[in-house]
């Protein structure tokens, strides 16, 4: 009598498994990441309506104004005909003084603004050309949004189709694809991308094309793995036996099984696309100026740091980081919810 009870009593999930299930169900929505992502999408969609200034034009007189909460600095200076070398710091020429006060005379003491104070007119300050940083960040969201949506759509689809084919047909198709993925890793793609963008022109279309080169392998690999598991499922064999076409089997029977995973992968890949796009534009191969992009804004502010003008670089970089952090947190949450198996893949 070698009877095994486990086959008869359908084993209920263990306490721990049930507890884990309940935890997953009740785990709170990632409120803050979703809010931030909503903000980015909103900014991108309604940039012309909500941005306080023109992002591409500024007045030079407004340049390098700090964020609203920072005060300026003033100094009492003596109005002189010509600056003496030693007292340069405490003197001002008559010509400059007249701009500030038309009644100034030589020998007057004048209060001069040495560092401008922040004003509510420019909440996050202005850059070296007097453009409003906040408005540029709002418009920059647009670029990031467009680039990620198009890249994800095109690159993701290519990856999915290749992954489906590789997983389903196996053999040399699979082998070739996997070697391509290996080679993709070995190529300094970012350099190739830079070369392409510089030689073919800094247009959105080229940038998106180049970014697609980066992201398709991740999708292809993921889908391939899923297909390898799904293609041996009974319902797929059944479809095959009943004479369904290969395309039908792939897209109607297998593809839906990969969607959960794809949503998670896509969310996490958006973050990577945004980072790559900003890297390209930081290196000078993004959308051409003066169109604001977060990466190029960081680059703009780089040389100004030494003069204490930190806000030009800081805020757009913060925008990138918060967006990507939110995407990662949201992606992790989705993964726990949709596909806990994926955890090992990252």
């Amino acid at each position: 009598m070698a009877a095994d009870l486990s086959g008869i009593i359908i084993a209920p999930p263990t306490t721990m498994a049930r507890a884990a299930g309940a935890y997953r169900k009740f785990r709170r929505w990632p409120v803050i990441p979703l809010f931030l992502l909503g903000l980015v999408v909103f900014a991108g969609l309604f940039a012309p309506l909500i941005s306080p200034h023109n992002p591409e034009k500024g007045e030079l007189k407004d340049r390098n104004i700090p964020p609203a909460w920072l005060g300026g600095e003033t100094a009492l200076k003596l109005v002189v005909e010509r600056l003496s070398i030693n007292d340069r710091g405490s003197q001002v020429t008559l010509r400059d003084a007249l701009v500030i006060n038309p009644n100034a005379k030589v020998g007057d003491q004048l209060v001069i603004v040495t560092k401008p104070a922040g004003s509510t007119k420019f909440l996050l300050g202005t850059d070296h050309l007097g453009r409003d940083v906040l408005s540029r960040i709002i418009y920059g969201a647009r670029i990031s949004l467009i680039v990620s949506i198009v890249t994800l759509g095109v690159g993701g689809s290519i990856g999915v189709v290749l992954g489906l084919a590789a997983g389903y047909y196996g053999g040399w198709v699979d082998e070739t694809l996997m070697r391509l993925v290996d080679i993709k890793l070995a190529i300094p793609l970012i350099l190739i991308a830079l070369v392409l963008v510089i030689t073919l022109g800094q247009s959105l279309a080229i940038i998106v094309t180049v970014l697609c080169l980066f992201i398709w392998p991740r999708f292809a690999r993921q889908v391939r793995g899923e297909v390898l598991q799904l293609k041996n499922m009974d319902y797929v064999s059944l479809a095959k036996v009943s004479g369904a076409s290969t395309a039908r089997i792939l897209f109607i029977h297998i593809f839906p099984g990969t969607i959960n995973t794809l949503i998670v992968v896509a969310t996490l890949q958006v973050g990577i696309v945004i980072l790559l796009e900003s890297t390209l534009s930081f290196l000078g191969a993004g959308v051409p100026p003066p169109t604001p992009a977060w990466g190029s804004m960081v680059a703009d502010g780089r040389d100004k740091l030494a003069g204490g003008v930190w806000w030009i670089s800081t805020f757009p970089g913060l925008a990138i980081m918060l967006t990507v952090v939110s995407l990662n947190l949201f992606g992790d949450w989705l993964r726990d919810k949709l596909d806990p198996r994926l955890r090992q893949m990252e």
């Binding site: 095994d4 009870l5 486990s6 209920p12 306490t15 507890a19």
Partner: protein
């Protein structure tokens, strides 16, 4: 049963009112809730029950391997050879685990470390517990591997787990278990993932090893076939408690708790033709939210009002045979 006559009265392990709770965010999970049993020298005790009834937590508690937090042995005594394991420090436990009390785990495919050789893994326990020169450690390991019938043991020592079959790996796990002549060997579903012939061989091997060394065995299983073949006594667990306890003969011939009766009824019998197999309706209650009365009440075919009010006491059915059911009072 041949071994029955040889059982002496010397008690090796005594478990008294053991409670192991897990703290989770839904409340305290009472995985093991006040179990008591003892184990005599050379005896085999079977602990039987469905998945999630607390068998495995019992096993981990006996080894003091409950992950803390979230788990904790809240109260009780585990007296092995005069020492109360519950009170021992991690250091002292290190000396006892593997030498006085040893473990054979469920899954032979995952219970060996993939990056070390079989030799390394068998030798490790010997090195920890026996202060002998390197050369004899190896010889000893070899000897143990031969004891569990590993062919060409010498060359197998250099193999990695992935180079062996499931049955072979399970033998290695067994070899590790017996390598330091433990007084108590706990086998947690040691044969579930093996096929039937290998399972039978393995069980016979365990039985032989036990006979040789006079060690006591605790068999954790959900398979009554194994219980019948291997055990002297059985403890039936349900929802963290032992509901019935007695000799194999008592349990099989006179199951006194409705749960035991149901379990036995659901085992297919060779000699009787049935159209449908019996199954127990419903699921065990969640361990973090146990009902006030008997935890089996909701699934019990002979439930009474009383059952929902208080947990029944242990009643003696016959000498050495107890069950916790209101029906018996």
């Amino acid at each position: 049963m041949a071994t029955e006559t040889r059982i002496n009265t010397e008690t090796v392990l005594e478990v008294e009112d053991l409670r192991t709770y897990f703290r989770t965010r839904w409340g305290t999970v009472k995985a093991v809730d006040g179990i008591s049993f003892d184990l005599r020298k050379g005896e085999t005790l079977g602990i039987v029950g469905e998945s999630g009834c607390g068998k495995s937590v019992t096993m981990l508690s006996l080894m003091r391997l409950i992950p803390t937090p979230p788990g904790r042995i809240v109260s009780g005594k585990i007296i092995l050879d005069g020492d109360d394991l519950v009170q021992l420090s991690e250091n002292e436990l290190g000396k006892i685990r593997g030498s006085k009390i040893a473990l054979i785990i469920q899954d032979p495919m995952t219970s060996l470390n993939p990056v070390f050789t079989i030799g390394d893994q068998v030798e490790e326990a010997i090195k920890i517990h026996q202060d002998i020169p390197k050369r004899s450690v190896m010889e000893h390991a070899l000897q143990v591997l031969r004891k569990v019938n590993i062919p060409a043991a010498e060359s197998r020592m250099k193999d990695y787990p992935h180079q062996m079959s499931g049955g072979m790996r399970q033998r290695v796990v067994g070899a590790i278990g017996i390598s330091c002549q433990p007084k108590v060997l706990i086998a947690d579903e040691p044969t579930t993932s093996l096929d039937v012939t290998i399972q039978a061989q393995y069980l016979k091997l365990l039985k032989d090893l036990q006979k040789d060394s006079d060690m006591s065995l605790i068999f954790i299983t959900h398979d009554f076939g194994i219980v019948a073949k291997m055990c002297d006594r059985v403890a039936v667990m349900y929802a963290g408690r032992i509901v019935e306890h007695g000799s194999v003969r008592d349990i099989f011939n006179n199951p006194s708790h409705p749960y035991t009766a149901a379990l036995l009824a659901s085992v297919p019998k060779m000699d009787v033709d049935v159209d449908r197999l019996f199954s127990i309706e419903g699921q065990p209650p969640p361990l973090h939210n146990l009902p006030v009365g008997c935890s089996f009440a909701d699934r019990c075919p002979v439930v009474m009002d009383k059952c929902r009010e208080a947990y029944p006491n242990r009643s003696t059915v016959s000498d050495g045979h107890t069950a916790a059911c209101w029906k018996l009072e």
